[in-house]
Amino acid sequence: MATGEEELDVGQAKKEDEFGSLLRLSPKSKSNAEFITSLRANFADHSGVQDVHVNGDGEVKKPSYKAWTKKTGDMLEIPAIDFTNSALQEEREQYDITVKLFYLPGASIEKRATETREAIQLVLKELHIPSIDLLIVSFPGIYFDEQEDCPDKLSTRGPVEADPEPLESLLEAWKTIEQLHDEGIVLKLGIAEFGKERLEALLDKARVPPAVDQINLRDCCSVPKDLMALAKSKKVELLVHNDCSNVLPRGTVRELLGQGPDGAGVLAEPSKAGDKRKSLHGEEQTNGRSHDCLVGDVQPQWVVKYTAVVRNRGVIENKGYFAAAELTD
């Protein structure tokens, strides 16, 4: 807190959590629900929130976050990450490992280069592997289908939370992942939701061209012909995804980490304007509800999703997420 800024590794969600929650959802539910629900479940598992008892006053008593998180430098792991038992069952060559990195709306663009490496390193460490097959990066506010005639599609897309970035900033991020490609850490590069114009521009400027453009079809199964033609001619594979554009909204992080009934009890309740109870120093003096917890504004930075599929069997052996947010006073 000394710097007034802290990075929160807001969590990890893994296959066993995720499928359990994802599959209980109706097909119409939002496509980040699986991720959010599994984050919540993982927090609950580690924090013991599920086991708390409501005391006589009807107040929920949560254990201190310090018991189940880990602080290294200015980074707080929620929960503490242990990489010992997460290796893949078979040799690296048996797998097709795809990683998707979501740069979230409102996150700082300047830090992307460092954060990209951080995110990839977490995945490599988690799976005990030296490289991944495909890295797809997803930029906020970009949708391939803006001009498309598919009303259903636009209505299911959800609110647009960010304006698309200028090409220069996309290209800047691309340089970082080209670097990872040069180093042999990432074998193929991809982007998500690029329409024809953007894809063309990227193909034009990129030193390592994208091998994949991942698009969300939302039941329409109508791909703009010019995008299809461009992808074919430049050997860019058009893959399907079903992720929503902002997988981790700010309010959700607050709720997940907050003091509510399903929260992990890490973050203090946000202060209302003119709220006199708000402390100016670090930990909050609460109205008797919680003990130590973090205070400040939380800003989600990135989410990384990884999937390891056994190549010749089509079986998903491992899947999970890491997410990061920043806390500022």
Partner: protein
């Protein structure tokens, strides 16, 4: 169905004497396979489908359709097609010339009925998603090749059964019924493949049973159908064979369509899928997990509403095949006290399976069949030979049957590098799932065959169901799904699937929660649960009563989900799987069409073939609301099937069944 070695088949009394001998050798061969292949690992997912056709012959002028008994000629033509052989196709069993090619043409196989063809892809499919799109094209190619090798007025239709089979006239060339092998009053011996194995199979089943097989299908009572209804085609005055007494002894039941030969069952066309598992453990898991899906797949593919020229009150073929090869004696059936036979046997050789075989800790003993009949002596030998108890139980259950077709030449010497005696029993146990050990002499792994589905009229539908089953297996393995229910419930579900419109109107026992229990172990650290002084989690680890684990659900709920109770549905599970793997746009959109077909069949937006055919008959101008399917109606119906096969609904015809395409 491959043709086994040719030799001198034993008549039943002789075969019966050597039954123990064949079984013992079969068990020794099984142990040899077991010891050779139990450690086989890392086999890829390979899979194949089998399509079976009826070859029909049209006479447009007379408005007649007949079954063509030219299987042998057609296979001969296919086997001698130099171009096909060059591409790896042909008829492996006839083995004319060398088959070599980069491109793998489909292969054709003889089947029990002399009016049937079976075709399989030239090479097995993988899990490359582009492979999944090749399936339909390959099925279309197969049908085209078949069509190219038959007469212009013939057509290979994929109806499960020929509506007029057994009318004593609709076969070409014509043969008189009442031959020495089948002794059927409706169909001639020539209805069966002439390869000695098939007539022997039919004759020895009849001989062992002590009378003809007996198929009674409930008739569909329409407005003008008499009640009680007596099958008007039954001849009570035939005196060619002792078995002609069967009908005088009450074999034909009131209100039922009566049939009396193996051809009425084994002449049905099915859609079967076989998977190779990565190792024996995965194979055993797939066998168990797919088993409860069998009756659901049967109801979804229902396509059999007509027998012998009458509308039936059932929608599927399954029980008819079961009765058509039921070799049980009156003692085994429980009609007489046990005196000569070893035990009473609750099911035909062709029936839903009765065993689970996985060493999965989720398999509770309560799921197993309490009435399972097992040959304890053979089981003890398997266990002594190193096989675990649950798998030994499975095979010792299959081996309660007698070998039906035994060739004298094969009994001279036990060859442990062969599997003929094992396969003799294994391949005449026609259960809805089959667990197949690796064959000797090549690199094929442990396989699981899914057998309940009815053939569909179009290649589009057959591809859709094949691909759906493949995707379900991937979802089962990826998500570690659990579909276990007590196996007697699956047997009951199989009966339910027969009812008219069961797919919409009936409910099936199904597991409420197929999702894995959250492990609590996340990221390797000891979870709070295992720490002392932490309260125990609210969800109990000891399982509750088995009866609480399952409930009755509609096919729609099973396939599309039941949001109220949180049951996800098989299609959403498959979609979740597809969302988690890299699938290209074109493939995903094609797969979406397949899933839409199955979703529509389950929720009633699309009709099953059974419903469509029944509707077609009832709307036909010749129909007198008396359950009778006339020759003219049969002609129009089979013509309609051809039209549907060719156009797949794109001309608007049969849109009720196929949707807008």
């Amino acid at each position: 169905m491959g043709l086994l070695a040719v030799g001198t088949p034993l008549d039943w009394p002789e075969a019966k004497k050597v039954a123990d001998h064949v079984r013992e050798w079969g068990i020794e061969q099984l142990l040899a396979i077991w010891n050779r292949a139990k450690g086989k690992e890392r086999d890829a997912l390979l899979w194949g489908d089998e399509i079976e056709y009826l070859v029909v012959s049209f006479d447009d002028e007379k408005r007649e359709v007949k079954l063509s008994l030219r299987q042998a000629d057609i296979l001969e033509a296919l086997a001698n097609d130099a171009e096909l052989l060059k591409q790896g196709g042909g008829v492996p069993d006839l083995a004319v010339g060398e088959a070599k090619s980069a491109r793998s043409a489909p292969t054709f196989h003889p089947e029990f009925g002399r009016f049937m063809l079976e075709a399989t892809p030239g090479r097995p499919w993988g899990i490359g998603f582009k492979d999944l799109l090749d399936v339909e094209q390959d099925m279309k190619w197969r049908r085209q090749i078949a069509k190219d090798h038959i007469f212009a007025y013939e057509y290979p239709v994929t109806l499960t059964t020929f509506p007029m089979l057994g009318d004593r006239k609709s076969i070409t060339p014509f043969y008189e019924p009442s031959g020495p092998k089948l002794r059927s009053q409706f169909v001639p011996d020539e209805i069966a493949n002439p390869h000695i194995r098939f007539p022997t199979l039919a004759a020895n089943i009849r001989w062992r049973r002590g009378r003809k097989v007996e198929l009674n299908v409930p008739v569909f009572h329409d407005e003008n159908t008499s009640k009680p209804w007596k099958d008007p085609t039954v001849n009570y005055d035939l005196h060619n064979w002792p078995e002609d007494d069967d009908v005088r002894n009450g074999a034909a039941k009131d209100d039922h369509i009566y049939m009396d030969a193996m051809a009425f069952g084994m002449g049905s066309c099915c859609l079967q899928i076989t998977f190779q598992a990565t190792n024996i453990a995965e194979g055993r898991k797939m066998y168990d997990q797919l088993s409860p899906l069998g009756p659901i797949l049967l109801a979804l593919t229902a396509a059999t509403p007509i027998y012998k020229g009458f509308l039936a009150d059932t929608d599927v073929r399954w029980n008819q095949i079961s009765a058509a090869v039921d070799d049980r004696t009156p003692e085994e059936l429980g009609e007489k006290p046990l005196k000569h036979d070893r035990w009473r046997i609750p099911k035909s050789r062709y029936a839903s399976n009765s065993t689970y075989i996985s060493q999965d800790p989720r398999l509770r003993p309560e799921y197993l069949d309490p009435d399972l009949v097992v040959d304890e002596k053979l089981k003890a030998r398997l266990v002594e030979g190193g096989m675990d108890d649950i798998l030994a139980t499975h095979f010792a259950h299959l081996f309660i049957r007698d070998p039906i077709v035994v060739f004298a030449e094969d009994l001279k010497e036990l060859d442990l590098s062969k599997t003929d005696h094992f396969e003799n029993l294994q391949s005449t146990n026609w259960q809805h799932m089959r667990f197949k050990p690796p064959p000797p002499g090549n690199d094929i792994g442990w396989r699981v065959e899914v057998r309940p589905m009815e053939i569909q009229i179009t290649d589009f539908e057959n591809a859709a169901f094949s691909v759906f089953v493949v995707l379900i297996t991937r979802a089962i393995l990826s998500f570690d799904l659990n579909f276990y229910i007590p196996i007697p419930r699956t047997t009951e579900n199989m009966e339910t699937a027969h009812k008219r419109d069961a797919v919409l109107d009936d409910k099936f026992y199904f597991r409420k929660d197929p999702l894995p229990r959250r492990s609590g172990r996340t990221n390797g650290t000891a979870s709070p649960r295992s720490r002392p002084n932490t309260p125990q989690p609210s969800r109990p680890h000891t399982p509750g009563p088995v009866e609480d684990e399952y409930e009755l659900m509609t096919v729609d709920e099973i396939i599309n989900g039941k949001p109220a109770s949180g049951f996800p549905g098989l299609i959403p599970l498959v979609e979740s799987y597809l969302d988690s793997v890299n699938v290209d746009v074109e493939t995903r959109c094609e797969l979406a069409q397949y899933l839409a077909l199955i979703r529509g069949r389950a929720n009633g937006e699309l009709w099953t073939a059974a419903k469509w055919i029944r509707h077609f008959v009832r709307e036909h101008e010749e129909y007198k609301k008396d359950s009778v399917v006339t020759d003219g109606m049969a002609f129009d119906l089979v013509k309609a099937a051809e039209r549907i096969t060719v156009n797949e609904g794109r001309d608007g015809f049969a849109r009720e069944m196929l949707g807008r395409r």
